[in-house]
C-alpha cells in the first residue's frame, strides 16, 4: 500500500514526465521555426520564394567582401557560407563593428531573382572564445590560428599563455 506522500510523489513525477515528453515532441515538431536563421545549405536546398523575408546566417567568406560608396551610403557585397554552400549578399548601410571576413553574421532580408540575397539589416554573431588581444596576435604570428578560418585551437593551448600587457 502506498503512503500518501509516495502517491503524491509518483503523481508529480508522472505529470512531469508526461509534460516533458509533450514539450519535447512539440519542440521537435516546430524545430524549423525555432531556428533563428537559415544556413546557406538550407537556402541552396530549398530557397524561400523571391521577396519573402527571412534570416540568413553563416560565415562571411574570405576574399568576397567588396565595398563601394554611393551618395554617402556604403554598399557591401559579400558571400555567406557554411562550408558547403554560399549565398551572395548585398547590403547598403553601416555594418556592425565586428563584421569581418570569417565572422559569423545574420542577415535579414529576402532573395531577389538571380539568387542574390538583399539584406535590410546585418547582425554580427561573435564566437564564444574570450582571450586578450596579445594572445590572439601570438597565435596568429605563430601560425596556430587565423581568425578568418574558423575558431581558435583548443583553449588548453593558450589559456595560460603569458601576456605583456594585462589591461587595455
Amino acid at each position: 500500500m502506498l503512503t500518501p506522500k509516495r502517491r503524491r510523489l509518483y503523481l508529480v513525477l508522472t505529470c512531469l514526465v508526461c509534460l516533458g515528453g509533450a514539450v519535447a515532441l512539440s519542440l521537435a515538431a516546430f524545430s524549423s521555426s525555432l531556428t533563428y536563421f537559415l544556413s546557406p545549405r538550407q537556402v541552396a536546398a530549398k530557397a524561400p520564394p523571391v521577396g519573402q523575408s527571412f534570416r540568413l546566417g553563416g560565415i562571411v567568406q574570405v576574399g568576397t567582401v567588396a565595398t563601394s560608396v554611393a551618395n554617402g551610403t556604403p554598399t557591401t557585397h559579400f558571400a555567406v557560407t557554411d562550408g558547403r554552400a554560399a549565398v551572395e549578399v548585398i547590403y547598403s548601410g553601416v555594418l556592425p563593428d565586428l563584421f569581418r571576413e570569417g565572422q559569423g553574421i545574420v542577415a535579414i532580408g529576402s532573395m531577389r531573382p538571380g539568387g542574390v540575397f538583399v539584406a535590410d539589416e546585418v547582425l554580427a554573431k561573435h564566437g564564444a572564445d574570450y582571450m586578450p588581444k596579445d594572445v590572439e596576435q601570438e597565435l596568429k604570428a605563430s601560425g596556430k590560428w587565423d581568425p578568418r578560418f574558423g575558431p581558435p585551437p583548443d583553449a588548453s593551448a593558450w589559456n595560460d599563455m603569458k601576456v605583456k600587457d594585462n589591461g587595455t
Partner: protein, 258 residues
Amino acid sequence: MKQSALNPVQSTRSGGWFHYLANPGRFQRVARPTLPWLAAFSVVLTITGIVWGYWFAPADWQQGDAARIMYVHVPAAWVAMAGYAALAFCSLLSLVWRHPLADIAAEEIGPVGAGFTAVCLVSGSLWGKPMWGAYWVWDARLTSVLILFFLYLGHIALIRAFDNKAHGYRAAAILALAGAVNLPIIVFSVQWWNTLHQGNTISLTGPSKIYITMLYPLLIASLGFYLSFITMVVARMSAAISERKTTALLRAAAEQTP
C-alpha cells in the same frame, strides 16, 4: 493553534533530516547568526569579481571592453536559472511532503529570482546593441530566458493571489514545476537551434574557451552572485517567519482579551 503550525510535530517516518530542516523555528536559530556572514562574503566576493573583471582583467581580442559586461551578465544568468531550479525543488517538497518551510522559501525566491533574471536580460540587451547591432532578437536563447522571467512573475502573482494561503502555495508549486521544463531548453537552446546568442564558453565537461585571467574574475563574481541570492532569500524567509509569528501572537492576544 496558529503557533503550533510554526513548529510542526516531528514525524518519525522516513526522511528525518527533511523534517529537521523544515522546522521554521530551527531555521530561524540557524539563519539569524549566519546571515551577517553570508552578507559579508557575498559583498566582498561580488565586489572583488567585478572590480577585477572591469579594471584588471584583459580586454577581449574581438569585442574589446564591451566583453566586460559578461562579469555581470553571466553570473546573473546562472543565478536566475539556479534560482528557478531551487524554486522547482521547493515546489516538489511542498506538493509531496507539504513542508511549511518549502512554501515560505518558494514565496521568497520568486522576487529575488525575477530580479536576477531582469539583470541578465537588461545587461544582455546592453551588450547586444554594440556587438550584434540589436538590443533584442527573438532567437531561442533570448526568448526562453524571457519566458523564465514571465514564469517568475506568474509565480510571484499566483502564490499571493488566494485568501487561503495553502491554495496559493499549491497552485504556484504546480506552475513552478511545470515551468521547470524551460530550464533544459534555456541551457541547450544554443546547441539545438541556430541562435544569434553565442554558444557556451564555459563547459563543465570540456575545456573552457576563455583566457585564465578572464575566467577567475568571472567565477569569483559568480560565487558572489550565488551568495547574494542565498543571502537575500534567507533574509526574506527569516523576516517572513518572524512576521507570521508576530501575527499569530497578536491574534492570540486579541482572542484572550474579552
